[in-house]
Amino acid sequence: MIGLVDCNNFYASCERAFNPALRNRPVVVLSNNDGCVIARSNEAKELGIAMGALPFEIEKLIEQNNVAVFSSNYTLYGDMSHRVMTILQTYSQDVEIYSIDEAFLSFDGYNLYDLEAYSREIVGKVTKGTGIPVSMGIASSKTLAKVANKTAKKRKELKGVYVIDSDEKRIEALRNFAIGDVWGIGRQYAELLVRQGVKTALEFTQMNKEWIQKHMTVVGRRTYDELCGHPRIDFELMPPAKQVICNARSFGSMLTEYTQVEEAVANYAARCCEKLRKQNCCASVVMVFVHTNQHRKDLPQYGKNIVINLPVATNSSMELVKYATKGLRAIFKEGFHYKKAGVIVSDIVPAASIQSNMFYELDAIKQGKIMKVLDELNGAMGRNKVIVGRQGFERKWKLRQEKLSPCYSTRLSDIITVKA
């Protein structure tokens, strides 16, 4: 059997965990740059606040209903996610972390367990230990476990746990389950199926297999099998090392000066390197892009990217910042209002297996030592205390995070700023 544990309204719940007074208040969390709504508590959903809603659109609703609004605090969410996953790993040897707030647990060989009681224990321990409420669905396949989880969330009387361990329970869960909500059924397939008169997951499992194979390929057939209770999707316990690392953001306000954009690009490049070093990898290709605000039809538009092949794969901030800003200089044009820039590194290889370049002299060992010291200093004193010169201290490009919750973070430097 397979369990799916999912945190309820994860970001909103993280904010509530440290501020229980928010428990009965509607809570919304905004995207990077306070762009749009990306998470809502149940109360906020009931108010009709939609995913992707822009802050000014819901200004009145917020005021009238005393909605608590937060900028996204990924330091906090990442730490809380890690805590939830750590607890889950004590309940199953094989845990697949599927996203920041979801994990599959394998219960192979748990035949003698009362899985419903076991699930209630897991839900209870995670919810109490972290303050993050979770729900759990159990079934014989991943897709059915997802269905079971959503059912557990939707039906209050189930108290957060639903186990599909009989055909009756499977059919009961699928009967009221919209086909578009099934994991693996995208919008296009959902529309196609509704046109065929298939509205629920149960109706889908009663369709002709050959029709599904023909019109929805093997992917649809796999979902069909999974919904019938036959597992077709394996566990992925080791996520493959990232082949691309991207750091791209919209600026807090539009930028016109080269030096301001350069500062942003230098920071994005440095951040990519930090991530590379954490994975113990190097990248040999870097792409830099900039563009203006496409929604501002009144302003002249421009967008361009450039790909640079590095002479030697690197994870040194000094090297990458140098090439990224070289690239920016080549594509930057005066006279535009820039809204976004980004740095993407690819061709990522393990740091141990770098090809050297006989025409390019780089003291990789020395650079490696410098980067190690830099990481240690920033780890101890707070991010960006020691930086490559071009990263600058002006930070005009910086994110707008006006409603950032106190960073109940993992850093000593942050502890000091907490008011006593």
Binding site: D79, R83, G131, S409, T410, A420
Partner: protein, 146 residues
Amino acid sequence: MGSTSEVEFYSSETELLMTLPFVSGGIAAGFPSPAEDYLDTGMDLNHELVKNPATTFYGRVKGLSMKDDGILPNDILIVDKSLEPKNGDLAVCFIDGEFTLKRIAKKRDCIYLMPANPEFKPIRVTEENDFIVWGIVTWVIKNTRR
């Protein structure tokens, strides 16, 4: 100061391994300790004080209601949310809109939150209150040289 000890929270960094050399053989107070030529394996306070890293958080004390227990403003609390509250436990509670630090006294029909300062009254918690035990305090860290 209000009628309660308020606390503020931040989560703990337990990945960071800080080891201090630990001299075995104890420390003879009043005497120069005999020179130890060898050091034991390092002692890691994260490991000693934080038994459940995933459910441990930190809080900072504000207010004087627990003064007679030796808990003063700015002390740092190590709080484990996973523990079940026992009679007499020091607990971070959330009651009627704010965090408060008190000892728990369970009675037949209610719970009392007991201060450790004669100037503060015990708080009687009934079903009427919006109340949760947020976490149990396992250790208190004090700076003795402020």
